[in-house]
C-alpha cells in the first residue's frame, strides 16, 4: 500500500490541517505573536471540512478550547492595567465601587489603583476598568458610616466628582485611602472643597430621582394619607422632598413615594393649627393646595419645619406665576411677516398681523377638524 498525497482528497487535507495547526516546533511564547488568543482560523477551516458537530462530539475542539482559554486567562492575569505616559501607581489596594447603571446596581470589586493622575478600579479577570476618575475632577471627599447588607456598619468613601456625581467606594483601610487620595489631589493642584456639596444624595433620593432632577429642599414630615378603601385617613411618618420638578413625599413604611405633584400644579399653601390625634393637639399643619387633574386638592403635612416649608412653597408659587407671566410677555419675531408678537400668541394662535400659523399648530388643527 502506498501513502497518499492528494490535496483534493479529504484525508490528505485533514491530516495536513491536524499537523499545521496543532504541531510543529514550539517557540517560547514571549517571542511570537498570538492570534489574539483564539486560533479561529484553524477551527473554522477544520470544522468546515470535518463537520462541526462531529468535531464537537469528539472533543476535538474542546481540547483546543481549553488550551486557548487557559492561555487567555493566563495572559489576562498577567495583563496589568495599562497606564498612561508618565503615570505612576502610588497606592494599590482591594476594594469595591458602587456601580449604578439603569436598573442595575451592585458593588463591583477589584483593585483600586491610585496614580499621580487617576483613581481607578480594575477588574483583573476581565481586564476591565470599572471606575475611573482623573484626580482633578474630584471636588470633595467624605467618609460616611453606612449600613452594609450584612447589617454591620462600614465606612464608605464618598467622592464628589464634577457634574454632581458621587462615587461610593469601599476599601478596608478607608482612612489611609482617603488621606492618600487627598494628598495626591492636592499635589495635582486641586483644592478640595471643605464644604461638602449641598445636594447630598441619600439612599431614598437615589431610588426615585429622575435624570436631571435635583432636590432643592427636604425634611422629615408626617403626611395625612387619604382614605383608601376601609382604611380611614391616617398620619404617616416620612420625608417630604421638593425637587426641580415635583413635590413628593416618601413613605418610610413602604419605602416609596406615595404622594407627588408637579410643582407647576401647586397653587398655594397655608399653615394652620390642628389637632391631629387625641394625643397630638395644637400641631401646625401645612396644607398644600394643588391641581389634581383639574380638581383642586389638598395634601396635609405636619412636622417641625412647617413654617420653612410654607415659605419655600410660597416662593415657589410666586416664582412659577412670574415665570409664566414672563413667558407670556416674551416676544418673538413672526417667521412670515417679521413683526414682533407675543411668543405665546404666535405659537398658540398664530401671527396677529399676517395670520401665520406654525406647522405644529396646523397639524393639531387638522387633527381636530378630523
Amino acid at each position: 500500500m502506498e501513502p497518499v498525497r492528494d490535496w483534493k482528497g479529504r484525508a490528505t487535507l485533514v491530516d495536513l490541517l491536524d499537523r499545521v495547526f496543532d504541531k510543529g516546533v514550539v517557540i517560547h511564547a514571549d517571542l511570537i505573536i498570538s492570534v489574539s488568543g483564539i486560533p479561529l482560523i484553524g477551527v473554522n477551516l477544520r470544522a468546515a471540512l470535518a463537520g462541526m458537530e462531529t468535531m464537537l462530539e469528539y472533543g476535538m475542539m474542546q481540547d483546543m478550547d481549553i488550551k486557548t482559554r487557559m492561555w487567555e486567562a493566563q495572559h489576562r492575569k498577567n495583563k496589568q492595567v495599562s497606564l498612561m505616559e508618565g503615570e505612576e501607581v502610588v497606592l494599590n489596594m482591594f476594594g469595591s465601587y458602587y456601580y449604578m447603571k439603569g436598573i442595575y446596581n451592585a458593588w463591583k470589586s477589584g483593585r483600586f489603583y491610585l496614580t499621580n493622575l487617576r483613581l481607578l478600579l480594575y477588574q483583573q479577570d476581565i481586564a476591565e476598568i470599572v471606575f475611573e476618575t482623573p484626580l482633578d475632577k474630584i471636588k470633595a471627599i467624605a467618609v460616611r458610616r453606612e449600613k452594609s447588607f450584612t447589617g454591620k456598619d462600614r465606612d464608605i468613601l464618598h467622592l464628589y466628582l464634577e457634574g454632581k456625581k458621587v462615587a461610593r467606594l469601599n476599601v478596608l483601610e478607608t482612612e489611609q485611602f482617603r488621606q492618600n487620595i487627598e494628598r495626591l489631589v492636592r499635589k495635582a493642584g486641586v483644592t478640595l472643597d471643605r464644604q461638602l456639596p449641598e445636594e447630598e444624595l441619600d439612599e431614598r433620593t437615589n431610588s426615585f430621582l429622575m435624570e436631571g432632577e435635583k432636590v432643592s429642599c427636604k425634611g422629615k414630615m408626617w403626611y395625612l394619607m387619604p382614605k383608601s378603601g376601609i382604611i380611614a385617613e391616617t398620619w404617616r411618618p416620612g420625608h417630604l422632598y421638593l425637587t426641580s420638578r415635583r413635590l413628593c413625599w416618601w413613605n418610610d413604611f413602604d419605602k416609596r413615594i406615595v404622594f407627588q405633584t408637579l410643582i407647576d400644579r401647586i397653587s398655594g399653601s397655608t399653615v394652620e393649627i390642628k389637632n391631629i390625634s387625641p394625643v397630638l393637639k395644637d400641631e401646625e399643619v401645612l396644607d398644600v393646595i394643588y391641581n389634581n387633574n383639574g380638581a383642586k386638592a389638598v395634601a396635609s403635612f405636619s412636622g417641625k419645619e412647617t413654617d420653612e416649608w410654607k415659605k419655600v412653597l410660597i416662593q415657589l408659587v410666586s416664582g412659577e406665576i412670574k415665570a409664566k407671566e414672563d413667558k407670556d410677555k416674551e416676544k418673538e419675531t413672526c417667521p412670515q411677516c417679521g413683526k414682533q408678537a407675543s411668543a405665546k400668541e404666535l405659537l398658540e394662535k398664530g401671527c396677529p398681523n399676517c395670520n401665520w400659523v406654525s406647522p405644529r399648530l396646523k397639524k393639531k388643527l387638522a387633527q381636530v377638524a378630523k
Binding site: M1, G24, S36, N44
Partner: protein
C-alpha cells in the same frame, strides 16, 4: 506596526538561500542562518494571518506545507513549524535578531531533533472498521452470541425484546474487546516497521464506520514495510486504512 518574521521551518543547513516568492501571500522566502542551522522565513508585519474565507486559508495552509517541502528538497532535513508562527520584534531588537536569538538559545535542542528526524518522514495512519460487518463476524465466531441470536428467533415478541437487549449489551462488550485486540495487534505490527509512533486522537466517522486507531509514524522514506503491513490490514474484511504522507515531521519535533 512592528515587524515580524513568519517562520516555516528550521533547516539543518546554514546555506544563505533565497527561495523566491513562494511564501504565503507570495512573500519572498529566505534563510536566517546561525552556525550550521537556519530558520526559513519571510518578512511580514507582526500580525497573524487570519481570514474568514475558507478557500483562502486553505491556500495559505497548503502554501505553508509546500514551502517546507521545497526547503526539504533544497536543504535537506527540516523541523516544520505550525501555521502562523510569527516571531515579533520588541523594543530592544528587530525581528531578525529575535529569530537569531531563538536559534542560539534553542540550538542544542533543535540540533538533537534535526538528527533524530534526519532522512525520515512522517506518515499518518488511520484504521477503521465497519461495525456492522465486524458484529456479524463476531456473532458467527462466538458460540455464546450465536446461541443467543438463534434463541431470539424462537421466542415470543416480549421475551425476544429482552433477549435482544441482552444480546446488544453483550455485543457492545465484545466489540470493545475486539477493538482492543485489534489495536494491540496492529500497533505491534506497525511498530515493527517504523522508528517512532505517536498515538493521535480518534475522530468520529460516518456510521457504521468507527475509527480504531490514528497514528503518526516516523520512518525512513525508502522503507516499504509499513505499506505492506497496512496492505494486509486493509485486505481484511470490514477494515479500512487511510495512509497519507510523506509529511514533514510535524509530530516528532
Amino acid at each position: 506596526m512592528a515587524e515580524g518574521r513568519y517562520v516555516y521551518c528550521i533547516a539543518g543547513n546554514s546555506k544563505t538561500t533565497c527561495l523566491g516568492k513562494i511564501g504565503v501571500e507570495e512573500n519572498e522566502v529566505y534563510t536566517i542562518p546561525y552556525q550550521d542551522i537556519s530558520a526559513v522565513v519571510h518578512n511580514c508585519p507582526a500580525e497573524p494571518y487570519k481570514s474568514e474565507d475558507k478557500e483562502l486559508v486553505k491556500k495559505w495552509v497548503i502554501t505553508h506545507e509546500e514551502v517546507i517541502e521545497a526547503v526539504q528538497e533544497k536543504l535537506g532535513t527540516v523541523l516544520p513549524l505550525g501555521f502562523d508562527t510569527i516571531i515579533k520584534a520588541d523594543e530592544a531588537e528587530d525581528a531578525q535578531e529575535k529569530v537569531k536569538d531563538w536559534l542560539k538559545e534553542d540550538y542544542q535542542k533543535l540540533k538533537e531533533k534535526l538528527n533524530k528526524v534526519k532522512g525520515k518522514a512522517e506518515y499518518a495512519v488511520q484504521i477503521s472498521w465497519d461495525a456492522k460487518v465486524i458484529t456479524k463476524k463476531l456473532i458467527e465466531k462466538d458460540n455464546e452470541l450465536k446461541k443467543l441470536d438463534q434463541e431470539i428467533k424462537s421466542k415470543p415478541k416480549g421475551v425476544a425484546y429482552m433477549y435482544k437487549q441482552k444480546l446488544e449489551k453483550l455485543l457492545r462488550n465484545k466489540l470493545g474487546e475486539e477493538a482492543n485486540k485489534c489495536f494491540k495487534n496492529f500497533y505491534d505490527k506497525i511498530k515493527g516497521c517504523v522508528d517512532e509512533i505517536k498515538v493521535e486522537k480518534l475522530k468520529k466517522e460516518e456510521e457504521p464506520r468507527q475509527m480504531l486507531m490514528s497514528l503518526s509514524c516516523l520512518k525512513d522514506k525508502v522503507n516499504k514495510t509499513l505499506g505492506d503491513e497496512l496492505e494486509k490490514i486493509s485486505n481484511m474484511e470490514g477494515f479500512f486504512v487511510e495512509f497519507t504522507g510523506p509529511w514533514p515531521p510535524y509530530s516528532f519535533v
